[in-house]
Subunit: 453 residues, 2 copies
């Protein structure tokens, strides 16, 4: 392992009313936040004022409404909200430094469409965009794209591998100095500095060039969130940030070592990829106050929501009839390739949790690391994960908004800064600069790199 | 024809440095405007301060670079710029009233992706979005989407018909009052007020619902730009605004009468669809100054650019060898279905124009109506087209930016206002309100309409 910076990276993973499943019912939450641009602009600015590396938005190309039984979903707040690329574009023009990462699926986009949207977000934000590559998980998505069933993981990842290559190739279409724009001669671009892609592969034929010039960070940062084996393989080759879910330091360390260990095979260094587990933090002035805040949120969950959550995660409708205060049934098994259900079942079996207890344990963070405590005790744990090589930083998942982010920014960030582990102001202007990631020089003519460094 | 408002509608059709083919070489143009968000925000605000109904952006899913001979395109400024949906999203959060219309193709998008992007732009702008439906024209686009050749017009329009229906259906997924968001009971949405689409057609199977709620204008305004027969048929059934190109009032009147005459067959009224021809205006304090400004722009065109333009429009590379100061060759013919080449050839033959003269005539406006003069003489002509039922308004195509828009806003708009033909301030906040278009009530439960009107 090469020498590592001691600076912790922070993302703000924003969901309209917050990450807790009942966040929208919290007295401090704005129930219609998912349709309120000004709400998002305000919380992005809060994160920017605190020096966060980025805001991060999830996505799916379908609504979470249960198609057979819409009434079953009526307690769910994330059924309809903004599309993240447009939302981040709107936020881009009202912020100046913070990175802007949107999730988008390789399974239902075409690479030219997606490469363009992200390149444009990157250009208009002055080099602050990131693309969180996912292959989609909801059955509802398939049915919005001419399919009855979601493709199998192998097929999705085979497409994703080629999709990532095409997208990165399109982002190399124009060299950084391709546009002399010389009014006197009338020459707008230098034809020697274009690189059309002319890709012909199993899934895509894409000629290029992209019709968007490169941004000041070269191209968007590539983020990934899958922790399955094909997800890890793709991430080790192409990702620059990994967003991941771990309940324990041991699990995080094993993942961290595995991913970083795969990098040299692709000619990559450990510092070329940042691993950022999700953290769901509940901050109090005392440990007791933090616990009380956490339990207030938990008390807002309806029992029906808990059972529906488990039935959905494990894809077993029978769980709707399961007695909520008994352990999960013995017959429940999971497909080892789907990492989140496996993690939840293992947790429930290990600790003998009832259905209600399992749901309450993961309700807010959906399998991510949940911590409550004072700023000092939270920073102790973040430092332990960072210093123990379980993380390069964290994707912070505020329990509810804006209060949950305000608590973190008001108490945890200053404690991180006091200990010298987090920036007090931005040193650069691009997401790559914040994250300390290398500039993607052009493979054919690395002119900018030669001139600038 | 029913009683018509006497108010002229105005769109600002924005291209980075302006519409003239050599606009970027003008001393007053910012050559890198196509990569400068602040440039676009400033001109959108200029148009908003003047009370324009909307800004309008063109699009193609490919670069105008000649793939066989990139050097041949080196004088072209529109080879790489922002993607319009992301750009308008960024502009949305810095403006408050002006409509925001982006072009997007039904040939290479999937309807769920496109319906979502525009619904989200509509939501975050407070009901100001419009979608200009096109079926694409560039061969380069096909080659970015797994095809060797662009599909034939019949195939493109068959897909576009179904695409438009699916998109509008997805925009009806949620009733306006579908979200009680009741914290006490925990009910976020009312399952009786969702309308999944469950569409199964020749081109698309889309279950829905869309995962974006409706905006305050119901859904984006549907704009169309095709003037071919299948384009007219589709527009008469689905469009709410038509952007069109005419050189003469007679041509505009014939088009206007044809389109408005088709509406009753679809149960639509004349005022349900606004016809807005493009206008390329050069404004001067005197007629002589206007002509001088126009000729200054024309003088910036390189002869090679003129021949390449004609070779491209007519898809005949032999025109590159044609003597620029002779009339178009006798052998040149056009496919009657492609409306723009037919219009240009007819113009050249009618007036006996040389290749250079034809190009100079249409260079700036690419077949649209070019006028130069004082504010009063320009308004005379706009009024004549409006009062003669050739137009419900105009899509203004500034020759260069920002100067060409500043001239129009500073001189022509005040003259229109003085004559009582254009608003002095916005009466509403949505694009539909500006254009006087009906609110799209929900076909199943027109609750909002009943309650509000």
């Amino acid at each position: 392992m090469t020498q590592r910076s001691d600076q912790i990276r922070l993302g703000a993973f924003l969901m309209a009313t917050g990450h807790h499943v009942a966040a929208w019912r919290h007295p401090g939450a704005k129930a219609d936040a998912g349709a309120d641009l000004e709400h998002y602009v305000a919380i992005a600015r809060t994160a920017e004022d605190a020096g966060f590396d980025m805001v991060f938005l999830a996505d799916s190309q379908g609504s979470m409404v249960d198609q057979e039984d819409p009434a079953a979903s009526r307690f769910v707040s994330q059924v309809a909200t903004f599309e993240p690329i447009t939302l981040l574009s709107a936020i881009a023009s009202r912020t100046s430094h913070i990175g802007l990462v949107a999730t988008a699926t390789t399974t239902y986009y075409e690479p030219y469409l997606l490469a363009r949207l992200f390149a444009s977000l990157d250009l208009l934000s002055g080099g602050r965009a990131g693309w969180n590559l996912v292959t989609s998980a909801l059955r509802q998505e398939a049915q919005n794209f001419n399919l009855d069933h979601h493709p199998e993981p192998e097929a999705r990842y085979a497409r994703a591998e080629e999709f990532a290559d095409v997208t990165k190739g399109l982002w190399q279409s124009w060299q950084d100095d391709a546009f002399p724009r010389d009014k006197a001669s009338g020459v707008f671009f230098d034809p020697a500095r274009i690189h059309p892609l002319n890709h012909r592969g199993a899934h895509f034929s894409v000629a290029g060039p992209l019709n968007v010039p490169r941004s000041t960070q070269g191209h968007p940062v590539v983020v990934q969130a899958g922790s399955s084996e094909p997800g890890r393989a793709l991430a080790a080759r192409t990702a620059e940030v990994i967003f991941t879910a771990h309940q324990t330091l041991e699990s995080a360390q094993a993942f961290y070592a595995d991913i970083k260990g795969r990098l040299p095979a692709f000619g990559r260094r450990a510092e070329d990829l940042r691993i950022m587990p999700g953290v769901f933090p509940v901050v109090g002035a005392t440990e007791a106050e933090a616990l009380e805040k956490y339990e207030e949120l938990q008390s807002l969950i309806l029992p029906e929501v808990a059972l529906r959550f488990l039935a959905s995660v494990f894809n077993r409708p029978e769980l709707l009839e399961h007695p909520i205060d008994e352990p999960l049934p013995d017959w429940l098994e999971v497909d080892g390739r789907a990492s989140r259900p496996a993690l939840l079942l293992e947790l429930a079996r290990r600790e003998g949790l009832t259905a209600r207890e399992l749901h309450l344990r993961v309700a807010g963070a959906r399998g991510h690391w949940t911590i409550h405590g004072t700023a000092a005790s939270i920073v102790d744990r973040l430092e332990a994960w960072f210093d123990g090589y379980g993380a390069d930083g964290f994707n912070i998942m505020p329990p509810y908004l804006p209060g949950g982010l305000d608590d973190f920014v008001g108490h945890v960030v200053p404690e991180l800064q006091r200990r010298g582990r987090f920036r007090k102001s931005y040193a650069g202007t691009t997401l790559r600069e914040h994250l300390g990631l290398p500039y993607p020089t052009h493979p054919h003519h690395a002119i900018r790199a030669e001139a600038a460094e």
